[in-house]
Amino acid sequence: MAEGFRLRVRYGKTGRLRHLSHLEVIRACERSVRRAGLPYSVTQGFSPKIKAAFGPALPVGTAGEREYYDVWLTSYVPARTVLERLAGASPAGLAPQAVSYAGGREPSLSAALTVARYRVLVASPATWPEEFGKVLAGVVGSGTLAVEHKGKTKVFDLARSLPEEPRVGSEDGFLVVEITTRIGQEGSLRPEALVHEALSSSPKPGSLIAVTRTDLLVEAGKEWLRPME
């Protein structure tokens, strides 16, 4: 059998399910595909596995508003039908939002998606978006950020990691920080690392409440595109 039909699914990782790990999300989505009764392809070999490929991992605790995976089908099922069946077979916190067929030769999601947008919610006794924005700009202006992870230190070049200036606003008494980062092979800067660094050098206290990835984008020249519309 040839490649089969490459189906792209957009879904959310929301509510309490933001506490799931990437592997837990993968297993849950694969089980939704099986429950939906879709004619999914399996890999060759002694222990066949469902043929699917996921976008970049979200850490435990980070929610996602527009996440993606590809799954290959052995026969064509109209996208609308797939969406209906998947929606009826998925946990509410991992609900599918849209489905479309993707070209068989397109690069994988993990290779194509190189820009991520995040929204970070910070609780603070006072709202001071302008002030915090300046502190954040100071951190960005310093050029690099050293992040410790599992005993290792990684230094991020902020000019490369942050293709846009972070923006700070406020909403319901929280500071809302919007951060766009480059993700990929060379390592992905976690937005909370940047916010923590800014908080540690700011005159006022604050604590990080929630991180949500709001978008995943493909860089096409100067344009940034979504992997499906």
Binding site: H19, S21, S32, R34, R35, S90, G93
Partner: protein
């Protein structure tokens, strides 16, 4: 319930970013039932972590049964890991159920399964986190009823003071009756004492407060409950459909797969095995039902594996037919069938070929190293049976086999212990011989050795457990007799087995020891790195209870602390079996040969049900 529930969900949720593996507490899995409209809420507690408890089939069955009752909600509770427990105590967040994230103490009833003795401190930990008084005697009218059940209910005394009631035996029908009796009591505005008397009227329900210790070592009824509590048993297992839309965990839990029970009970008659004695008679489910339910559970759960479970799955009279039909239906998919418990004499080449696939290894339990000792324990398998099963498996493509053995079985000699090493050597040789020459390097035999623990309601219930120093001496004999190359030897922690033995045949005084040990910090005793025998020994000492006596021999003429609990197997049969063990005389399996007179069928009004008409 009468008191309005305090909303703790926001507080509980704020703890999730602070703890390891938050998936244990998030709920929202496929198949989780949310019934906010229910007026009668129950919490089903498994006394260990989520990843262990989600594998428990009893809990899944009761969850299914209770949520099917109008006006009733059953929600899951597991014991929070130490980090979460510390955060909960620091923030005054009471133990909550997963589905509604509301306090356990606001439920009408808390059902607790008691799967093994080393979970006892976890029960107290959970009650304490819930803010429910530990002892039945200290609970007030507004507190939930705390009802136990599960394997340990057959010797309930060590945990009896912590429970308002304990169900002995199978729960499918009984939980429905317990809930009905409780709801009627609530309706009638009965007080706690009256409610417990009503519960004692439900067959199979033991209400500990209606019994006291007698001077002869047994338990004396104080009125209101039967002199002997007979276990509950389903006459027709086929009438109950197992859960086919179970909760599908996100976390990588133990036994993360669809499970369909294919038969209940086992009449092989292994004399050390409590499950084999207390879950009689043998009831096989029909092949059509098994196939139908397996496919339904896979479709609803989306799992990659279905496991056909029982105490001894290869004994099902139609097992090959069932596996063949399921394998055919699942051909070309990524979904496999597995059998968890196989007997060496029932595992043939046909089954080996049908099951090959993803199986990483095969597990067989010869239990003892010599034929004499296997006859003593009535294992009824020979060395040749074992070697035949190993040849079949390795010829069918397996490269690993795991063997379970026990040391410390009654009448065991040093020769029997060394015999385990010899038998493992023969298994290795047979496995290599059945494997193509170029693959022999990957042949592995895992050997897992535990210490025999005498259990209540078995022919060995009067026997002594080995002392700790003697266990260590025999372990050395075994280590010296074991082939090195190709063998992976592992031991069950001898000190944990010693404690298990003291608790497994304990009396009501042991409850004080359990509470004291928990107060000194014990929790998760089944987790090797958390277990401390010293903490337990200190508590035994302070309470003036000798664990060596509890694990020691018992007087066959005196009542036992569990004599007021009946599994239906007669004490006379157990005594006869103990005598036959001494003479190394085998007793056949009544599903293959004639009745052995264990007493279950006449006393409980039940009989074996064999789907294929006959076995063997």
């Amino acid at each position: 319930m009468a008191t309005p529930a305090a909303d703790v969900s926001a507080g509980a949720e704020s703890l999730l970013p602070l703890v390891e593996r938050p998936a244990r507490y998030v709920d929202g899995e496929w198949g989780a039932r949310h019934r906010p409209e229910a007026s009668y809420r129950t919490a089903l507690l498994y006394p260990d972590t989520y990843e262990l408890g989600m594998a428990n089939q009893a809990l899944a069955i009761l969850y299914d049964r209770l949520n099917a009752i109008d006006g009733v909600a059953a929600e899951r509770v597991f014991v929070p890991w130490k980090d979460m427990a510390a955060e909960m105590r620091a923030s005054s967040t009471p133990l909550f159920t997963l589905e509604s994230m509301q306090p356990v103490r606001d439920c009408a009833l808390v059902g607790v399964t008691l799967p093994y003795e080393l979970t006892y401190t976890n029960v107290l930990e959970a009650l304490d986190l819930a803010g429910i008084p530990l002892r039945s005697a200290d609970r007030a009218e507004a507190d939930p009823l705390v009802v136990g059940g599960g394997p340990c209910a057959f010797d309930p005394e060590p945990m009896a003071p912590f429970f308002d009631a304990i169900l002995v035996g199978e729960g499918e029908e009984a939980v429905v009756e317990i809930v009905a009796a409780h709801r009627a009591a609530i309706e009638a505005r009965a007080n706690r004492e009256e409610t417990l008397r009503r519960l004692a009227g439900v067959p199979g329900v033991y209400v500990p407060s209606l019994y006291a210790e007698a001077p002869d070592g047994g338990m004396r009824p104080l009125g209101g409950g039967p002199a002997v509590v007979e276990k509950r048993v389903l006459r027709d297992l086929g009438a109950f459909r197992p859960p086919t839309c179970p909760v599908v965990p996100f976390m990588d839990v133990v036994h993360d797969r669809a499970t369909i029970e294919i038969l209940r009970g086992c009449a092989r008659g292994c004399r050390f095995c409590q499950a084999g004695m207390v879950y009689r008679p043998v009831r096989e489910r029909r092949a059509d039902d098994i196939v139908r339910d397996s496919l339904a559970a896979l479709a609803c759960g989306g799992y990659e594996e279905v496991s056909l479970t029982s105490l001894s799955s290869s004994d099902h009279s139609l097992i090959e037919d069932v596996v063949r039909r399921l394998s055919r239906r699942l051909e070309g998919t990524d979904v496999t069938v597995s059998l968890p418990s196989l007997r060496v004499d029932a595992f043939g080449l046909t089954l080996a070929r049908l099951l090959k696939g993803k199986r990483p290894g095969l597990t067989l339990a010869p239990e003892a190293g010599t034929q004499r000792l296997r006859d003593v324990i009535n294992k009824n398998v020979t060395g040749e049976d074992l070697l035949g099963a190993v040849r079949a498996a390795f010829e069918a493509g397996w490269r690993r086999v795991k063997l379970y053995f026990m040391i410390g079985l009654p009448t065991e000699t040093d020769e029997d212990v060394a015999g385990i090493g010899r038998l493992v050597g023969e298994v290795l040789a047979a496995a290599r011989e059945a494997t193509p020459a170029d693959q022999r390097g990957s042949v592995r035999v895992g050997v897992s050795v535990s210490t025999f623990v005498p259990k209540a309601h078995t022919p060995f219930q009067w026997d002594a457990q080995l002392t700790l120093p003697e266990v260590l001496r025999r372990q050395k004999i075994l280590r010296d007799a074991m082939p090195r190359k190709g063998v992976e030897l592992s031991w069950h922690d001898a000190s944990a087995s010693f404690l298990e033995g003291a608790l497994a045949r304990g009396d009501r005084k042991v409850a004080d020891v359990i509470e004291r040990t928990w107060r000194s910090g014990a929790v998760f005793d089944a987790w090797t790195e958390e277990f401390s025998l010293d903490r337990w020994l200190a508590a035994f000492e302070e309470e003036g209870v000798d664990p060596v006596v509890l694990a020691g021999p018992r007087d066959a003429k005196a009542p036992l602390p569990w004599s007021h609990i009946s599994s239906g197997v007669s004490p006379a049969f157990l005594k006869l079996e103990r005598e036959r063990a001494e003479r190394a005389v085998a007793t056949p399996d009544c599903t293959f040969e004639e009745c052995t007179g264990c007493g279950v069928c006449p006393s409980l009004g039940v009989e074996n049900a064999i789907a294929g008409g006959s076995r063997g």
